[in-house]
Amino acid sequence: MKLSKRTEPHFRVTESGMLLIATRTASHPQLQFPPLDYVHGDDTVEEVPIGPFGQLYTYTVVHPGKDREPYGLAMVDFEPGVRAFGRLICTDGKAPAINSTMRIVPAELPDGSPDYAFGAVAGESA
């Protein structure tokens, strides 16, 4: 068996902003995000940074109830041809409008590990 686990993070912070890391392989050349976790055989993995800006495709605000705060979720389109899922930052409880310009921003998963979210660029609230 030749199976290796990728350990590179799924985001990168640069001077121009936070980027997500999509991947593609020789055997599957279409970009995917989230990136591959495992590589089989001698397949080579290319990392392609996407962002820091994208367009809001759709969203929702989840209301978990029982004293838990609502939270936003979104699908955001990035060039070249990636639609990524993640948490949506809502300002004053309001989600941005569809097609708003979004920026990738730092966030945390519930377990405290570093992650990403999507926030609207100023002036893009619904």
Binding site: T58, T60, I98
Partner: protein, 378 residues
Amino acid sequence: MNEPKIVGVGITDFGRFPDLTEEALAQSAILDALSDSGLQIGDIEAFYCGNAIGASLPGQRSLRELHTGGGAVYNIDNACSSGATAVNAALSALRSGQYETVLVFGMDQLSSLGGGPLPLSRNDWNNKRGMIMPALYAMRATRYMHEHGMEVSTLADIAVKNRQHGLLNPIATFCKATTREEVLASRQIAEPLTLLQCCPAVVDGAAAVVLSTKPSKGLAAPVRVLASVVQSGLFETGREDMIEAEITARTARMAYEQAGVGPQDLSLIECHDAFTISELLYYEALGLCERGEAPQLLASGATTLGGRIPVNPSGGLIAKGHPPGATGVAQIVEVCEHLQGRAGKRQVEGARLGLTQVTGGGIWGVDHAACSIHILSL
């Protein structure tokens, strides 16, 4: 080789039964189906069990006290599509000649979970970031409203229609009449979906069918299975169109081809209306109307009982609830009863051809993990 037919059906009440077990519910549906088929448990050569939430060996746990002859038990978990996938597998075995008479059952007991949305894999990328099934469909609804200018009141009208149907269904014990205003005023779950736009989260139930290639001894006319198709989700890494319902459209095309019929030939449909937007998306994916026309089809009354093509005359998942292992089999039981003219107050008059559609599973990268479609006739 004789054609396999459905020769008996059985179903429990769908409701909250915390004092029962999923095994007891399954046994009730199985005994009901056996009685309807005129057969004994010893006549059954193999059992196919659809179950999504319970622990391991659900089929054997359910059958143990029914004293089977020790024939094979196949346990099938395909999330909400488990029961319908089990029917598909059973048909394949009958058509291959492996068996002559089998029994398929599906059940789940959600009241044992304590409420909330169906549990999803904790390791899934999306689920780690807060995805739940209502949120997935809410995002579809948001996009649909954006692309087609649909009002949120149209979503509420699905909830009203299906609960009107459910009031005519004696097994839908959880169903209450509601109005558009009540639906929209109910608690937000995932915007724009409110509580009454979601199938009840805590409902238990079971359903069963007996299939055989032998002449029927059943109480009602045997039902033919003109199409039985199960498909899995395609891995879409690009910009997936979230309002296309790709897996359902693909499975429907294959089912129509297998049955030699089209959507215009159908008398009724039972579809996977776990959320109001789902039913609208499936109108389009099943070919009842063109893309973007689902709200107009609903408003025309065509999909209401008495209309041209009633959808979810049982009340669907929204009125009955959705114990996922049972749902696919329950849909088939419902269509059989209409074809056999024994659906009571909700009978679709002159029903000749019925379709059932159930999807299953929320995992990142695919529309749905599974979809099963059956087309039935006398």
